[in-house]
Amino acid sequence: MNPLPPDQIKGRLFDGQTARARAVVLDVGGDTLLLIGMEEMVTLDWRRLQRGRDGLSLTDPARPDWRLRLDEPLPAPWQARLAIEGAVTGDDRRRLFMAGAGVVAVGLVLWFGGTAVLNAVAHRLPRAWMAPIGVGIVEGLGHQCHTPAGDAAAAALMARLQSANPAEKVRLTIIDAPVVNAMALPGGQVVIFDQLIREAQSPDELAGVLAHELSHIKARDSERALVRQLGLSLLLQSVGGNIAGGADTLLMLSSSREAEAAADDGAIALLRGARVATAPTADFFDRQLGKERPKGKAPAKPSSDLDKAAERLSRLADITASHPDSGSRSRLFKTAAAAGPVTPALAAAQWQALKGMCVAGRDKPAKVSAPPDKR
């Protein structure tokens, strides 16, 4: 082997036609790059060539499969002269800037106008479509309690809170589950879990919870959450992955806090209109804050997107959710001055009927093989 002159570098040339590597020598001594092969000598048009970052390869954008691999890096002057393969060019920078501006613009629109857009859509969704979705979710929550007296009492409470001719039909369902919670679902469906009724110490407390949920229904909060989860959130997650999903969740939580505050205001207005005391609702919140929230034996694990949406709805409508402003929330109900004399939301007999609604249905099947309750 003859040692090569200092201006020559050994390399392998791949022409992109076959996988055969041809032994070549690259002469870097002159003002041009000279490729010396076995049989021929070619002057390379170096202005259109690109080098690898390590200076060990040369590629040609016009012939994407052609490459020259060198045994030693190109000398520094040539490295400086050649464009780097895959490097960010001025064009790329402009495109990157445009893309970044686009992302920021979309983000700003969503941040400031997102709620307005979602609201507009939520209020225009046909009731005929939303009601079955709500009913479907309610069906999936668990056993629905019914007794003649209990149903009558629930109807009486609804009638008390709503005006004589309610603008929209709302259906109240009591679900037999050990969860202290209530939720407003799409299509005018309100769900109250039995445990909440049992922990309420007066019909006024329950009336406060129900009034809160009725305000959610009126504001179409659950419809908005549904549209958000099934449209916007999925698109964001598709493109931005988990991080965009997380950002979306943060946005969702902030908008849900606003919705909660609005629903509290609405609830106070409803209670006042119905001449029901507001202070008991504050007591209920205080008691729920005081104890650990029951480690949710959630009725169903979220698996499908619809279930996730339902979970988000329930989080949105979660009456016991510990928001940062929960103290002020109780204060709000406590200080709301009554607009006049108040009367209990339900008569004592009606209240007992409502409280016993699920127990009445549960007695028969559960007694058969229930092990002793250790609590």
């Binding site: 992302v103 979705i133 037999d176 991080i243 619809l306």
Partner: protein
């Protein structure tokens, strides 16, 4: 000189990446992904692949990854419109049907959704393989896939049905059949991969492993039912919740049994990859995969230790370790005629593996 690949003998790929360079790359990607609300993840993945490919040498020549981040972005947006939107619409129809009391329609819609997802998973695996092969270059020659993703997905559905009917006992047959189906579609340049993996050599070790696992499953199922049965009801709240000591027992039992099954199936898992890859050849090269059950176990335990002892930071190294594990256990016997290995004439797909990404079956 890549001509060493033309000489008969054993050829092993080499992986030359230092973990520090990978770690820096991943941290940078992570930061950029964070400040772009996740959009950068397509470019991040592209950069990771470019790094892995470029540090992998076969016959002395490096692989090159030529994919672009924007191709993956376009793929993801397309997947949203052709997969996610229709699925959401269908699940809404299902929910409306349930609310309207149309049980049959609801069940029909939900079954259709499951069937479509299972079909699309197979479709997406084939498409992702095509995208990656088409963006892989070695010695100036590109890979490709010839054939149909739909046909492959149909085979995948058939194999799934077979596995359900046979309670999983057709697993060796199904995995060999699918491996052969997708690798027979694979090309490198003008050359076709030949995939003739046999399932019979796997049958004995599978029967032993799955048989023991199944007997264990039934036993564990019976014991757990005795523990939890008295507290079980389809109506939430109808019966008191089981006391903590029983929940604890069931949890512990599941943990033990999952570990045992994992160890039993490991033997089959290792044998499966050895047998499948042994059926693969390209021109005069016959491939082998040399990882034993012990190698896999050490690899997985290493992963767990790495993640646990670094409080999760080590998770950034998992893809690198995965790639290194695969590369260091692949071998090829024989020789490749580089003069006959010409450029492919199959057109490359324009955009990336959005479906596989959406369904999380992308792997790398």
């Amino acid at each position: 000189m890549n001509n060493e690949i033309t000489l008969a003998g054993e050829h092993r790929p080499e992986f030359s990446s230092a973990w520090t360079s990978w770690f820096g790359l991943v941290l940078g990607n992570w930061l950029l992904t964070l400040i772009t609300f996740g959009i950068f993840r397509f470019w991040a993945r592209t950069r990771e692949r470019r790094h892995l490919w470029a540090h992998t040498f076969f016959g002395g020549e490096p692989l090159e990854y030529t994919g672009l981040g924007r191709e993956l972005l376009v793929g993801a947006i397309l997947a949203f419109f052709v997969l996610i939107v229709p699925l959401v619409m269908a699940s809404l129809i299902g929910a409306v049907a349930q609310g309207m009391g149309l049980q049959a329609l609801m069940i029909g819609v939900n079954l259709a959704i499951y069937a479509v997802i299972l079909w699309v998973v197979q479709f997406a695996i084939w498409r992702a393989m095509r995208y990656r092969l088409s963006r892989t270059r070695w010695s100036g020659i590109r890979g490709a896939m010839d054939g149909s993703a739909a046909a492959y997905a149909l085979t995948g559905m058939k194999m799934l049905g077979l596995q359900i009917i046979t309670l999983g006992f057709a697993s060796p047959y199904a995995s060999a059949r699918l491996f052969n189906a997708r690798w027979s579609d694979a090309r490198f340049g003008s050359m076709k991969f030949v995939a003739e993996a046999q399932w019979r050599p796997l049958q004995r070790v599978f029967l032993q492993s799955w048989g023991i696992a199944l007997v264990g499953l039934i036993g564990v199922g019976i014991v757990e039912w005795q523990l939890i049965g008295p507290y079980f009801s389809f109506t939430p709240g109808a019966k008191p919740p089981p006391p903590p000591e029983i929940v604890f027992k069931v949890f512990g039992l599941n943990l033990v049994w999952l570990t045992v099954v994992g160890l039993i199936m490991l033997r089959y898992y290792a044998a499966q990859w050895q047998v499948l890859i042994a059926g693969l050849s390209l021109d005069g090269l016959r491939f082998r995969f040399t990882a034993t059950a012990g190698d896999w176990l050490r690899y997985w335990l290493g992963n767990v230790a790495l993640v646990v002892f670094t409080l999760g930071l080590g998770a950034t190294m998992l893809l690198w370790r995965h790639w290194r594990f695969l590369v260091s256990h692949v071998a090829a016997e024989g020789a490749l005629d580089v003069d006959r290995l010409a450029q492919t004439r199959i057109d490359a797909p324009l955009y990336g593996e959005g479906l596989a990404d959406a369904l999380d079956v992308g792997a790398i």
